[in-house]
Amino acid sequence: MGRMGSFELSLNKPEESSLRLVELIQVNVERDRNFQRLFDLHWRRVFSYFSRKGFSQEESKDLTQETFFRVFKGLDGFRGDSSFEWWLKGIAESTYKNEIRKRRTEKRKGIEQSIDAPVTNGTRSQSPKETLASPEPGSLEEVVDREQVKALRAALQELPPQMRQCCILRYLKGLKYQEIAEVMQISIETVKAHLFQGRKRLASMLGTTKGTGKKGGEDET
């Protein structure tokens, strides 16, 4: 029998190349060689993932090792319900969480909660100090605000779905243009057009004062 399964990767489709390599490994064809190819194809991506999380180069290398070792151990169980890359990122994420958990366990003793410590994991939770200082609801201003917010909520529902979703992601969830484009799978230009139109329509529906200038905000997309 010849060298069954030897081939060159079609580099324009890395996801299909990965799937092909995974299946070759699963049927035990040139297992080591194909796993090395899989490693070559993705290790930099995994390394960058850990670098972005703030790990040093050496730590990122170790965590990349750990991730691929888990891939090696679990590859036979991969059924291809999601793409290989999605699965790989999931393993990298789990490796990251394990590492964080390990470090937290080591540092657990001696940590005190500050009364001013409000930010956890990107989501701002109300600190005990803020809770104590929360104003009592009920003033006339607040009642008016509540009504206006209710009207804004209703006005948003009147927008076409994609325009509404862009507005929500931008103004309520605080995403950047690039992120909205990625979530909605549309171009940045379309995102901008939706936001422009959306604001105009909302202002018109709510009767708020509309300025004549342009809003200069985000210089990164």
């Binding site: 010849g2 069954m4 399964g5 030897s6 081939f7 060159e8 079609s10 299909e16 799937l19 299946e23 049927v27 035990n28 064809v29 040139e30 796993f35 090395q36 490693f39 070559d40 290790w43 930099r44 991506r45 390394f47 960058s48 993932y49 972005r52 180069q57 090792q65 090696f72 151990k73 999601s82 793409s83 890359e85 999605w86 990122k89 999931g90 990298a92 989501t123 701002r124 917010v149 804004l152 779905p161 994609q162 979703q165 929500i168 992601l169 103004y171 309520l172 990625e182 909605m184 901008k192 936001l195 422009f196 604001r199 909302l202 708020t208 004062t209 509309k210 300025g211 809003k215 985000e218």
Partner: protein, 258 residues
Amino acid sequence: VTDEPIDPELDRLFDLLAEEERGEPDPVEHPGAATLSAYYAHTLPADQVPRVQEHLVACGQCRAQLLEHSQFMGSPTEEPEDNVSSFEGVAEWRRLKERMDREPRELYQGRNTHKDRPLRSWGTGNSVAAVLAVAFVGVSLYAGSLLRELKQPVTNMGSETLLASQRSLSTGSKVVRLPNFLVIEVQATRPFPKYQIDFEDSRGTLVETFNDNIEEDGTIKTFLPRRFLKPGNYRVIVSGVKGDSREQLGTYNVHIVP
């Protein structure tokens, strides 16, 4: 710089609404990795896309997953390289390979290590030891044969051959069940350093291209994985490639069956 019209009052209302919604929990049900992965890859059926988008707008958790995956898949130029060279990549692979090779032995040793426990008497101990020894030898032999079997390439994997005599579209369709090896007999007037295999669907759209080497027996053997092509009829075009020139060597009809 954005093109959004200035409207401080609208911004203030958005801030208030954002504040109201900040504490709201994510939806309880999520689309799952398979759906999100397909959405990211643009392979989700069109009728499911709006539902997923609506969910992504509402669910911070899934949104974060999608954005993180997008970053994960970002092109290398956008990634922090941190001076990692391909040389280091090779070294890292070697380190991983050593660990992969070491692991089965570690598992094997781990299974057979035992903690020292006090035995009631030497007689009982000897009997137990004898039984354990026999069991150990049996298990070792079985494990050894199992390991040998696992290390061997799977030989019951089938293959379908496209004969040189079938290399025209009028000779009928070859049924190929996935996963499988496709063996293509090549009869070229001159040798080529590379061979290209194109798969076109029934509408003539190029679906996949492989570049393969020729085997010593004059065939090209290529592996077609399970999720490689959708079931249906395909035209397989085999060409010899040398530099920029390409010579068509044969065209076959293939019917892919899942």
